[in-house]
Symmetry: C2
């Protein structure tokens, strides 16, 4: 078994960016700049925001974090997003999701697709859906593909089971896998247990984005399968863990991404890469 560790992937992405960053900074007259917007006090958001801030600085770029209370009025929130979207000193925007009802719709409408680094706008959703790589896919979904490719896990022609059908991970990931010529089964909370187990246990690659500790058990994993775990949960002992029952599965599969240490570092690196791309396009306009 080989661990799909995220740091090595992140380091590669960093190296690529560092080669081209000085020229971009010269052209912009400043470092590429990311705006992170957080609503409410969800601990997972806080932890992601901190990692993203740290990673952006580590990659030689800048990030600023803006926090709003949960009950911020839609109009006020949208007006802030619009201001940053129109601001020529902001190259990219990351709005942490899920957002309280209404705020996502309101902010999506005023966020420019070219600054929408996490693929939440209709334009980027449509590009991902239609298999056009020119847009921004949600970072977590894109990170799964990067992680698999980095470790040479073949996707083309394979059967991939994706668990979780969110608009942020499961659905866009399915579309990206399809573009890589995988045959994809999308399972979710309404998939009957027996069918779920059958689909998982027959898959060459399993991607979980369910948000439930212990969701993926050893008897649902084929010997030699690859497992990418996009879950971020806290287990009964209060420790960070993924959706997979890691210890039970690790000796059965060919590859598995640990949590922590797996997909998270790739996700923030992809975010930085998207920031770099957005700033580059910005500088060329």
């Amino acid at each position: 078994m080989r661990e799909l560790r995220g740091k090595a992937v992140s380091d590669c992405i960093k190296e690529e960016i560092e080669k081209k960053l000085p020229e971009l900074i010269k052209r912009l007259g400043r470092k590429p700049r990311l705006e992170i917007i957080r609503v409410g006090d969800n601990e997972a958001d806080g932890s992601y925001a901190r990692s993203a801030m740290k990673k952006t600085a580590d990659f030689g770029m800048e990030a600023e974090l803006k926090c709003f209370p949960k009950d911020i009025p839609e109009a006020e929130f949208a007006s802030y997003v619009k201001e940053k979207s129109d601001d020529s000193d902001t190259d990219g925007i990351l709005i942490l999701r899920p957002l309280p009802e209404g705020l996502e719709e309101a902010s999506k409408a005023v966020l420019k697709p070219e600054k929408d680094l996490d693929g939440m706008t209709e334009k980027n959703q449509a590009l991902v859906f239609s298999g056009d790589p020119s847009g921004f896919a949600p970072c977590t979904a894109a990170a799964v593909i990067r992680l698999l490719k980095h470790y040479g896990v073949e996707v083309s022609g394979k059967h991939v089971a994706v668990a979780g059908r969110s608009n942020v991970v499961g659905k866009p990931l399915s579309m990206l896998l399809l573009s890589e010529n995988a045959t994809v089964t999308l399972c979710h909370s309404r998939t009957p247990d027996e069918l779920l187990k059958k689909q998982l246990a027959n898959a060459d690659i399993i991607c979980t984005a369910v948000g439930k500790a212990g969701f993926l058990k050893s008897d649902s994993v084929k010997v030699g399968a690859a497992v990418v775990d996009a879950g971020i949960n806290v287990n009964e002992e209060g420790r960070l863990c993924g959706d997979a029952d890691y210890d039970a599965i690790k000796d059965k599969c060919s590859f598995i991404s640990p949590v922590p240490g797996g997909l998270g570092a790739v996700t923030t690196a992809v975010l930085c890469e998207n920031l770099f791309k957005a700033a580059l396009r910005h500088s060329l306009r």
Copy 2:
């Protein structure tokens, strides 16, 4: 085995529209009006255009067909689409696809989503992708759901194999099935034979949109499965047929849609329903 015949579904849709049409005509001061745009001389397009024209008239609405040569310049084509999209006497537009390269991009950009009856614009793609039923899905994909529902074929909790990953049928259909709580496997031209056969043979419902006569054979169908055939092909004897080997499969499955006689009539009825909806929204603006 029960045949999933399209006419009965179309008749139901017609009945619903006829109840509400007189009031809409009064409000518009005219009948709802559809513009069909065809490029090139593909026989399948011609046949679909004729059916759509006939169905629209039969449903008490109006349609006009505009044909362009294959080599029409992008700008000229886009300008025509824009003219119709801006025309207040046109409620809905159907552009027959696939289009020659470049024309789809050019026309998508100027087609108003609220007149885009076949769900080709980014806005409608994004709505279908994110499971929002307020937009227009491609008519064929929407027709599959209608056909299944009409005949009481349960979709929720079932395993559905979709063969074909086009942006017009396979991908949007997968998203619509997901919204109905199906567990969906999307197979395509790069799915290895063995995997394809396994996925099809284990599915409760099979939807084919491959465009290959004889694609779905009896040994790939589970006893009692339901089959919806979205293929339109001409077989060796020159007769219209679907993707399924109908005669060999019909005694094995619980439901099967014939070609001709199946999905086609539902697709044009859904088109008319979309026209009605677009005209209604138009009249309320």
